[in-house]
Amino acid sequence: MEDKAIIALFWARSQQAIAETSAKYGKRLHQLSMNILHNYEDAQECVNDTYHAAWNTLPPQKPDFLFAYLARLARNASFDRYDYNHAKKRTATIVSLSKELECCIPASNEPERKSESVEIGAALNSFLQAQPKDMRRVFIQRYWYAQSIRAIAADCGISEGKVKSMLFRMRGKLKIYLEQEGITI
């Protein structure tokens, strides 16, 4: 079923909307949640929370990209769950992502001024749009979808080594870009 039809079902308050959403995007949403939480039950719960949030927000929302919308909901729910479960401990994925992104934090001579997340997000959008499609895809799959190197390589049809090198270059570029933009985290 097309995304527009599913959104229409949501607007019509039809229970079929959830079923169709689950059938079309359930696996991917579950995988996204699993990438962050590494727990099947928690991931399933987050996916259910996603459907619930979608039901509550559609309407009035009418997203142009349904999967991106749902994925954002699932990601938020997963990170909330992650924070709840592991106040002090971290999963391996978060640790690895954190380590990788550490090098993206620009050096700043103005530690007092801290940019808002929105501002940072806007900068990221600009940065990514300027990048080649394949590199952009790899970067977002890694740091937005929290996919493993192996999964990214399989999805993009490239080797894991190439994925790692692309991410390395992207991180370097991002750091330079953020410094040039004066973004302070």
Binding site: K27, R28, H30, Q31, M34, N35, H38, P63, D64, F65, F67, A68, Y69, A71, R72, R75, N76, F79, A92, T93, L97, S98, L101, E102, C104, I105, K114, S117, V118, I120, G121, A122, L124, N125, L128, Q129, K133, R136, R137, F139, I140, Q141, Y143, W144, Y145, Q147, S148, R150, A151, I152, A154, D155, I185
Partner: protein, 306 residues
């Protein structure tokens, strides 16, 4: 949280503000959704180690139980064989197939007089093997003996002769053979006191093997021993009167039979008395022909499977 961690988390959170178009564009395919991170080793996953241990324990118990059951089953089979229940079971076929070929482990084969008497002088309850020559049977080299049969056997055994043990004769044999009477007669007259009767099957086997009536080519065996059941008849006191019947049918008769069994042993005949008081023996043709019966008893010889 450390400052650095906060910064990193802010960056990750900022990713939330990426445009939907970029997110949609980079959405991984459904196939890659099945490829997660490198799977944790099965036994490292939570709870699986416990499950594996439980499965291993159950498997171990099952294997041990099966082994114990098989051991007991095998022991029962061996016990049955030791009792001679399967002794001498030969199919009815060509004579060569019927006869059990006995090849001694040593080069010498024979029936030991004294030793056999010693070895076979057991309580009836112990003599469950019915005297069949098996690997377990204690057969030793005879010293030179004045008994012709024994001496002949010993002499021949020293040369490595193979002895064939005859336990049954096929019910069907060619008509017209000398000595080959019909085996359809099942009723036999009781042997008289001091006399012996050879059943038709035994007589036919002797004629076939020992009396050169064998129509098939002779192979290595040169000596034949006949595994026979010996039915002993005598006077038994019953209800105040004497009845001439088979000794093993009554308690009083069994006592007499046991005495006769000991007498035969001492005389050098290889005999054995089973739990049910069936007297059996392994005799050559000469021993059968030269058998010296007691004047008080009658003897009926037949092949064990007749």
């Amino acid at each position: 949280m450390k400052a650095r961690d906060i910064q990193i988390r802010r960056l990750l959170d900022a990713m939330m503000y990426l445009e939907d178009a970029l997110i949609e564009e980079a959405a991984p395919g459904e196939e890659s959704a099945l490829i997660g991170e490198k799977r944790t080793r099965f036994w490292k996953r939570k709870g699986n180690l416990r499950k594996m241990t439980a499965c291993a324990a159950i498997l171990f118990v099952a294997v041990v139980s099966l082994w114990v059951w098989k051991s007991s089953f095998t022991a029962k089979e061996r016990s049955a064989l030791d009792n001679g229940q399967n002794a001498g079971a030969a199919s009815f076929g060509a004579p060569a197939e019927c006869a059990e070929e006995f090849v001694p482990e040593t080069n010498t084969v024979g029936v030991k007089n004294k030793n056999a008497a010693d070895l076979n002088a057991q309580m009836p309850a112990d003599s469950a093997d019915s005297g069949m020559i098996t690997d377990k049977a204690e057969i030793a080299v005879l010293e030179a003996d004045k008994d012709v049969a024994t001496g002949d056997v010993a002499d021949e055994s020293k040369d490595g002769t193979i002895v064939r043990l005859i336990e049954e004769f096929p019910p069907k044999f060619e008509q017209g053979e000398k000595g080959g009477g019909s085996n359809a007669v099942k009723c036999y007259k009781q042997p008289e006191k001091g006399g012996c009767v050879l059943y038709n099957g035994l007589q036919a086997a002797i004629d076939y093997w020992d009396n050169a009536n064998n129509t098939i080519e002779l192979a290595e065996p040169e000596r034949y021993l006949y595994h026979v059941a010996i039915d002993v008849f005598g006077d038994v006191a019953q209800n105040g009167r004497m009845v001439y019947e088979e000794l093993r049918l009554s308690d009083a008769g069994k006592e007499l039979l046991y005495q006769e069994y000991e007498r035969l042993l001492i005389s050098g005949i290889c005999v054995s008395l089973s739990e049910d008081f069936q007297l059996t023996g392994t005799l050559s043709r000469e021993e059968l022909e030269n058998f010296e019966p007691s004047a008080d008893y009658g003897y009926a010889f037949r092949l064990v499977n007749e």
